[in-house]
């Protein structure tokens, strides 16, 4: 019997193979997929071609560098790059905000860029100045250095932030300020970024309408002056050698006093005549005489015309006598008299002078064109009119530059003033802010590094199965911060517990190693679930509370601070982390404490000191001080003791890059002491507290 239909397997269509993309698709939820996929930082929508190409070029250069340098650390070092200098445009906009501050910005930019390059490339500042384009003169650089450091030495923030500043002498202060701030690449980077931001915003600052009007007027006036100069040159060219002694200023002076073009024309002729040793009075006399004679000729012809009706011969004298009421006769007599007066003067003019006069007249008035009925053509009238109009425009332009602001102009001026003041304030405070932020970043980086080291030690302990040691290391890391500088996990704010830091530092000063052990014990015994219990705990290790709601002490000391003994001791006091005797603790606890001190002791001491120096610095943004800096005050003796204790172990590799160490090395170098010979750690710490005064020059010892 055949099987039922439902039991017979149906033939299936052959399954098409999955496309490759589908087979590679990750179908897990995003939480399971792990870190986000790599994405190009260059979004296609705003593809920054230049940046993309720059990145590719840098990659290629780095690859080439790596091939020629065996040590990969050198390649990484080379990739650090330098903070670019401010451009001309940026400096120009900063100058619009405040030109004097912009000058200071340029100085800091120049100095810090040279020092940054010197630190990163190993070249000397002198070599870098020589290679600079354009080269920076040695003296100029020294001046810039002194001015930059001189200003920074007076910054109150730095005076308070640099340890032992008040105990350093003048040159040591300059070195300290240089090492701590002026040559700090982090300070430079932050400062240049803030200046760039200010310059960008200064672009939106409107021009001062008054200044803009003045600048506009000046521009127009300059253009008018140029045009006028061209015309005056043309006039002088036209006059040629006859006006060699006539200057452009003299020609301009002719227009003063609001003279008309006609008057200027006459004055021009007179001046040129004088320049050619011809008396203008004599010339004008001749002109007048000529004009008078011409007029007299015209009048005579008119008289003859009038006499034509009379058939008798015309005699001028008789006519004049017979027609005396005729005003023309009166005019003729006057002209006759005048001509007689001035005829003597025209005789003085020599034929040579006459030639010169003709040439001057042609230059000024133009040549006589007889084809046009004797009219003059050419001449410099049009040029004189051009100068006249030009000077009028100059006066109008100057007046426009002094005009009071319109309503819009006043609003623009107010907007500008507001923005300018805001930007100026930012410029003034930018250097201090950059220094604060750089110090904060330095501390933060060191803190994260130390936290990571502790975490690594803890993980290694756990890996070896030593859970208790793992917990102990983490407890020290966490609890020591509660007594030092701790970071708020939500806001990221640094909270500085000054009284605790001061107490911890003094404890180390007094008890050295034992003091550090006590701090470790404190961290291990704190909390509900302590690693080392000074109070009774339940089976989970949680501190038990007695009927009075207080923890039940495990250990007791007496009035002498010794372990309590029945029948011997008088008073029985619960032991705390400060008072418990280490021999009272269990063998297990003592072993743990010894192991922890061996591996973490140095870190605990250095954490206390880092927090101490951080607390000494003035409060900055994102830092909250509990207590005051008075809580951190140490006597000179205490400072010397702690310097001695901390320095004995040598300097950790990471600390050698610190500002303190490098400042110290520079001051030692200045005093002729080789820092690599013996005990730099001890001296470093002493220097930090007591200043360079403790370090005497070799010839002073």
């Amino acid at each position: 019997m055949p099987a039922p239909a439902e039991m017979v397997p149906r033939p299936r269509a052959p399954v098409a193979p999955l496309p490759i993309e589908a087979s590679l698709r990750d179908r897990r939820s995003s939480a399971e997929q792990g870190a986000r996929r790599l994405e190009s930082p260059f979004a296609p929508s705003d593809m920054k071609k230049e940046q993309f190409e720059a990145a590719q070029k840098k990659g290629a250069d780095a690859e080439a560098y790596a091939k020629t340098h065996e040590n990969p650390r050198d390649t990484i070092k080379e990739q650090r790059g330098l903070t670019g200098r401010l451009s001309e445009t940026e400096l120009k906009h900063l100058g619009r905000v405040d030109s004097s501050l912009a000058g200071e910005v340029l100085q800091f930019d120049t100095y810090s860029s040279v020092m940054e390059e010197s630190a990163k490339t190993g070249k000397t500042p002198e070599q870098i100045c020589e290679d600079h384009k354009p080269p920076i003169n040695g003296k100029q650089f020294e001046t810039v250095r002194n001015e930059v450091l001189g200003r920074m030495v007076n910054m109150q923030y730095l005076q308070e932030a640099i340890p032992g500043f008040d105990k350093k002498d003048g040159p040591q202060r300059l070195i300290a300020v240089d090492a701590y701030a002026a040559s700090h690449p982090g300070v430079r980077k932050l400062y240049v970024e803030s200046m760039r931001d200010i310059a960008r915003r200064a672009v939106a600052m409107p021009e001062d309408p008054t200044e803009a009007a003045k600048a506009g007027a000046k521009g127009k006036k300059d253009a008018l002056d140029t045009d006028r100069g061209i015309v005056i040159d043309r006039i002088k060219a036209r006059l040629g050698s006859k006006a060699d002694t006539l200057s452009s200023d003299q020609i301009e002076q002719m227009f003063k006093g609001g003279l008309s073009v006609d008057e200027v024309e006459m004055n021009m002729v007179d001046d040129v005549l004088r320049a050619n040793k011809i008396n203008p009075v004599e010339y004008h006399a001749r002109q007048e005489a000529q004009a008078a004679r011409e007029r007299m000729d015209v009048l005579r012809r008119e008289f003859e015309g009038t006499h034509q009706n009379d058939k008798s011969k015309f005699y001028l004298k008789a006519y004049l006598k017979g027609h005396s009421p005729d005003p023309r006769v009166d005019e003729y007599r006057k002209l006759e008299g005048r001509t007689a007066e001035i005829s003597k003067m025209e005789q003085i003019i020599t034929p040579k002078q006459d030639q010169t006069i003709r040439e001057i007249e042609e230059s000024v008035y133009g040549k006589i064109n007889y084809a046009k009925g004797g009219a003059r053509v050419g001449g410099m009238r049009s040029d004189l009119e051009a100068i006249h109009d030009n000077l009028k425009q100059v006066r109008i332009t100057e007046q426009a530059g002094k005009a009071p602001l319109t309503v819009d102009g006043e609003k623009t001026s107010a907007d500008r003033t507001l923005l300018q003041e805001q930007l100026r304030d930012e410029m003034v405070g930018a250097l201090e802010t950059s220094i604060q932020d750089a110090f904060y970043e330095d501390y933060d980086r060191l803190d994260k590094m130390n936290t990571r080291k502790a975490e690594a030690d803890a993980l290694d302990a756990a890996e070896k199965g030593d859970v208790r040691r793992h917990d102990a290391i983490l407890a020290i890391e966490k609890n020591q911060a509660h007594h030092g500088v701790e970071t708020d996990p939500i806001t990221g704010k640094k909270i500085v517990h000054c009284p605790d830091i001061g107490a911890d530092v003094k404890r180390i000063t007094e008890d050295t190693d034992n003091g550090v052990r006590r701090l470790e014990l404190r961290s291990l015994t704190e909390g509900e679930h302590p690693v080392v219990a000074l109070y009774e705990t339940d089976e989970r290790g949680v501190v038990k509370l007695g009927v009075d709601g207080k923890p039940i002490p495990k250990y007791f000391v007496d009035e002498k601070g010794l372990p309590y003994k029945d029948g011997v001791s008088i008073t029985k006091v619960p032991a705390t982390w400060e008072s418990v005797r280490l021999e009272q603790l269990s063998l297990e606890d003592r072993t743990l404490l010894n192991e922890i001190h061996a591996s973490q002791g140095e870190s605990v001491a250095q954490k206390v000191m880092s927090d101490y120096f951080f607390g000494l610095r003035p409060p900055v943004r994102n830092v909250e001080l509990h207590g005051t800096k008075k809580d951190l005050k140490l006597t000179d003796g205490q400072q010397a003791d702690i310097a001695k204790y901390l320095g004995k172990g040598g300097i950790k590799e990471a600390y050698k890059d610190s500002r303190d160490y490098n400042t110290f090395k520079k001051i030692l170098h200045e005093r002729g002491i080789n820092p690599n010979k013996g005990g730099p750690g001890w001296l470093l710490m002493l220097f930090l507290f007591l200043g360079g005064g403790v370090v005497r020059k070799k010839d002073e010892t």
Partner: protein, 109 residues
């Protein structure tokens, strides 16, 4: 102790290896356009400071993990060192198991 001795060996060798791996990641990322010039300069500075102060293999792993969380281009370096750690751990476990087996075999005999 076993892992430290196996993997740590010499801190300077570890640092050199870390530099080499991170260098390779950075160069590749720059050439592919997965990293900007600014990022490479910033991370170079950070890498120098942190690797120079390295004291253990575990610390290196922790650093590489935090670095790759911030800059995924370095994830490969983290994965590579993590795999090395896993391989050594596996090897140690295998050796321990083999030792136990030998012991059991010897007891049986």
């Amino acid at each position: 102790m076993m892992i430290d001795m196996a993997l740590q060996n010499n801190i300077s060798e570890l640092q050199k290896k870390a530099y080499l791996t991170l260098n390779t990641c950075m160069i590749e990322a720059l050439k592919k356009g997965e990293m900007t010039v600014d990022e490479s300069e910033k991370t170079s500075e950070e890498i120098l400071i942190n690797i120079d102060s390295l004291e253990s293999f575990t610390e290196l792993l922790l650093y590489l993990k935090s670095l790759s969380n911030e800059y995924p281009v370095y994830k490969r370096a983290y994965v590579q060192f993590k795999q090395e750690e896993t391989q050594v751990k596996d090897k140690i476990k295998m050796e321990a198991i083999q030792a136990k087996l030998k012991q059991l075999t010897a007891m049986k005999n």
